[in-house]
């Protein structure tokens, strides 16, 4: 019986091409399903509301999102702009005010009333507060939004829908 002899000079090479193909496909898959707009969203337990509109943001468009976890800290894009334990004193709102002013400047404007030449921002700020967050922290944001020079008057409160909750969020 003539068994194939192992030739020490023959290179034993694994064909890497199918593996690289699969790995590239996996990378493309993960790149597509990874939604970078979700990076703004902190892990908070949102209250459930039945009559909410589904939130489908355009990934190409910037939108202001303020996260307020249960302890009242205000987090925007992973950065804390207000912490009730740290930010004390008269300048405690400086960071948030600056950011809100920046947000207001980047929003589309509309007249405050028909025929008026005073324009105010016409886009909403999304507030993502935990269900157990004391509402006074959301009210503080509202107060800062209404400041002269910012005048953001449209708000959205993030909620989870009953369907999302059933899915074992």
């Amino acid at each position: 019986m003539n068994l194939a002899k192992h030739d020490s000079e023959t290179d034993m090479e694994m064909d890497m091409t199918p593996m690289i193909d699969v790995v590239f496909l996996l990378i493309i898959f993960f790149m597509i399903i990874t939604d970078m707009t979700q990076q703004d969203l902190e892990d908070v337990d949102l209250p459930v509301a039945e009559h909410a509109q589904p939130d489908k943001p355009d990934p190409k468009e910037w939108r202001p999102v303020i996260n307020v976890p249960h302890d009242g800290t205000m987090i925007i894009k992973k950065k804390t702009y207000f912490d009730p334990d740290v930010n004390l004193g008269p300048e405690k709102w400086n960071d948030l005010d600056k950011w809100l002013k920046f947000a207001a400047d980047n929003m589309e404007k509309a007249p405050i009333a028909p025929g008026s030449n005073v324009n105010v921002p016409d886009e909403p700020v999304l507030i993502r507060a935990d269900q157990v967050t004391p509402f006074k922290y959301v009210q503080y944001i509202m107060e800062r939004c209404g400041q002269d020079g910012t005048q953001i008057w449209k708000l959205q409160l993030a909620v989870s829908t009953p369907d999302t909750n059933e899915g074992g969020e």
Partner: protein, 179 residues
């Protein structure tokens, strides 16, 4: 000499020209691991729209006062004190008190009094009923939510949701902010 040169050239020509794949595969795997680790499945959230008084801080408009239904929220029973952890709410113990840790009120154990216009109730369906009666009389009716001390986000969202259920689209928050 010439023979030697010729054989060296042949050797070079016979050598396989191979692309070094190892670094590329390394980088590719790193990318794959990165995407797998940062993967966060998109959870569809909802949003409830609300408004602030439009002319706050401007004082140039002479808006006519609009009569709105006032929904006031007062806490009757704040509920059980709990501590928020990564795994959810856990009972607030003496140890937490000693360490002066933050607490939250358990949503299920709270009792809120809703005042819609002049009617007081602790039941949300009653709130919807009262709000529907107002909007039936005046379809253009607007609502204002007035949350008082110790009200939390869930309490407000439930009322906002109830107002939307009753058919209100223009809901504002009252400017009496808690100090």
């Amino acid at each position: 000499m010439a023979k030697k040169k010729g054989s060296a050239l042949r050797e070079i020509m016979n050598e396989k020209c191979e692309l070094q794949m190892t670094p590329m595969i390394d980088v590719t795997f790193l990318l794959l691991i990165f995407f797998m680790c940062t993967l966060k499945f998109k959870v569809l959230e909802g949003k409830l729209g609300a408004y602030l008084p439009k002319d706050v801080g401007v004082n140039t408009s002479q808006a006519e006062p609009v009569e709105k239904v006032d929904i006031r929220l007062d806490v009757l029973q704040p509920g059980t004190k709990m501590r928020q952890t990564r795994d959810g709410l856990v009972p607030y113990t003496d140890e937490d008190i000693a360490a002066n840790r933050r607490f939250v009120y358990s949503p299920g154990t709270r009792k809120i009094r809703y005042t819609v216009g002049t009617k007081r109730t602790t039941e949300l369906p009653e709130v919807v009923k009262s709000l529907k009666a107002f909007i039936k009389a005046d379809p253009e009716k607007k609502a204002t939510i007035d949350p008082r001390t110790d009200i939390n986000n869930l309490d407000v969202v439930l009322v906002l949701d109830a107002a939307m259920d009753a058919g209100y689209t223009d809901i504002t928050f009252k400017g009496s902010f808690e100090r």
